[in-house]
């Protein structure tokens, strides 16, 4: 009992460590990557005793600055709601990671450990549900500020997030139909089979349209460019107009954590989770762990090697998607607000419905 408790606590600590540090480093990655894309140098000034770490110290300096700034609350606003709104915006993001399997099950000191905090049958619903709760954070922030600009910004943000949540949900129905499960771990395992003996049955292969719909909808849900009207705080006044210091920083930490979490979700559902094509462990291939290539050759690997390779594969896939999201942020200009709504309701939603129809039809034909 105590051991199990310790294992769960350990997994939670590991995941929180991963997300928070990932979000912190992303502030640096975002600045440096943007600098490289636009032929600039980027953050390079802050130093501790001459150590600059290519600008990483700038992130620390930013955090220090935010921590020591005045924590202002509008005198006529709702002080309590104003204080907890950033937390409401941030925590659902962390909770979403609970159902993401970040590695294969491992045996450690006689314990069978799933590298997943919470194994839920309805894990995909869980992800969508907690994505919806994040809307409340920005809504409450706008309402509690007692500022018409913040309120309008909050309304705009919630309209955007709700519109794109529908796309997220509809896009996910395709993979759910194909894999026949809502359990993330089962979905990941379903992606380790092969189509026609050579093509990995990843979500992106069997559901390309759903992937093309899910990715932009996820960017919009995370309020990332090119859908970052809620956060274009210098050009358009947004819902955190009345926030300062670390509370404002929490919104951004939540946003950056969302990049990590969304990358993990996309990896799990569309990019095969922790699986590497043709790599199987002893349970899946009757005692023959290692690479089983489609041309028949076999490269034996130890059980632990397979497990570690898979954890690394998951990390690399997530890192690639995070890099890709930032690349997108520095490439595309912002949508206008009416375009944003049009794209969601008039273009992406019919496409998502079409995807569900086609998927259902093909599955029915395959079954008969």
């Amino acid at each position: 009992m105590l051991a199990e408790f310790g294992i769960v606590l350990g997994k939670i600590a590991f995941v929180l460590f991963l997300i928070l540090n990932g979000a912190g480093i992303l502030t640096w990655v975002e600045r440096k990557q943007g600098a490289l894309i636009s032929d600039r140098i980027g953050a390079n000034r802050a130093s501790i005793l001459g150590i600059k770490l290519w600008g990483l110290i700038n992130s620390l300096a930013d955090a220090m600055k935010l921590a020591f700034k005045e924590d202002y609350s509008p005198p006529r606003g709702l002080h309590f709601l104003h204080s907890i709104a950033p937390a409401i915006a941030m925590f659902p993001v962390f909770l979403t990671f609970a159902v993401i399997p970040f590695g294969p099950p491992i045996e450690l000191w006689g314990h069978h450990i799933r590298l997943q905090i919470l194994n839920l049958d309805i894990g995909v619903l869980f992800i969508l549900a907690f994505g919806s709760i994040a809307v409340y954070g920005s809504m409450i922030a706008g309402w509690a500020s007692n500022s018409k600009y913040a309120l309008l910004g909050g309304m705009r943000t919630s309209a955007q997030m709700i519109s794109y949540e529908i796309i997220l949900g509809l896009a996910l129905i395709g993979p759910i139909l194909v894999f026949g499960t809502m359990e993330p771990a089962a979905m990941v395992n379903a992606q380790n089979t092969l189509l026609w003996g050579w093509l990995p049955r990843w979500g992106i292969v069997v559901q390309p349209l759903a992937f093309l719909l899910f990715l932009p909808a996820a960017l919009a849900e995370g309020k990332r460019a090119p859908f970052d009207m809620p956060e274009g705080e210098s050009e358009i006044i947004g819902y955190f107009t009345e926030y300062s210091g670390m509370r404002w920083g929490m919104f951004f930490l939540g946003e950056l954590a969302e990049i990590v979490v969304l990358s993990a979700v996309i990896t799990t559902i569309f990019l095969g989770g922790y699986h590497i094509p043709y790599l199987y462990d002893a349970v899946e291939q009757a005692g023959q762990a290692g690479f089983h290539f489609p041309w028949g050759s076999y490269w034996a690997l130890g059980d632990w090697t397979v497990a570690i390779l898979r954890i690394i594969a998951f990390a690399l896939k997530v890192a690639f998607l995070m890099w890709f999201q930032i690349q997108v942020r520095w490439t595309f200009p912002r949508f206008r607000y009416d375009q944003l709504m049009r794209v969601s309701w008039r273009e992406m939603m019919p496409a998502a419905l079409l995807n569900i129809g086609i998927t259902g039809l093909i599955l029915m034909l395959l079954k008969n």
Binding site: L36, I37, S38, D39, R40, I41, Q327, V328, T331, F332
Partner: protein, 199 residues
Amino acid sequence: MIDVKPVNRSKLTIIQNSYYPELLKGLGVTMRHFFGNLARHTGRAIGLKTKDPMVTILYPEKTRHIAPRWRGRHRLMTRPDGSPRCVACMMCETACPDDCIKITAGESPDGRIEKYPVAFEIDLLRCCFCGLCVEACPEDAIRMDSGYVALGGVTRSEFYLDRDFLLHNSEMTTHAQFPGELDGMVVKRVDLSKQSGGH
């Protein structure tokens, strides 16, 4: 009658309207820059002589190259004996469109020269760096080639330059005005007095 010119806006093709091909083109551009710059930076970091991809000048560690004709802070030229070349003829004061030069003339101790500036003040806050004073000077006594770029200060009085400051301007390093803050700054000073000769 207003002339109206109808502009034919070409309709988007179906490929352009489906977003993704065009988005991929845009991503191609940024990825080219990203990976190109990443490779060039890495190359420089490990000692290869790749091109520096950045156009940024890391001021104040580095400054731009200053052309010999650069019009910076003024300086006053001296004769070989160290006295000012200026004869207080007021030509520059007259030519100055900003009224920023103020000369007080006095009788020169040298018998061959009529006047010399007892005081020569320039208010840099008014100066527009047009260089008309340099053009006007018949004695080549005032120049603006001190090579000084970082014109900054925290009080107004720092911008009122007096005669002695102007006379030694070209000799002074930048450290004099911003002790500590701009340490290590390299100013490429161009000394035209060596090139022009004669005078």
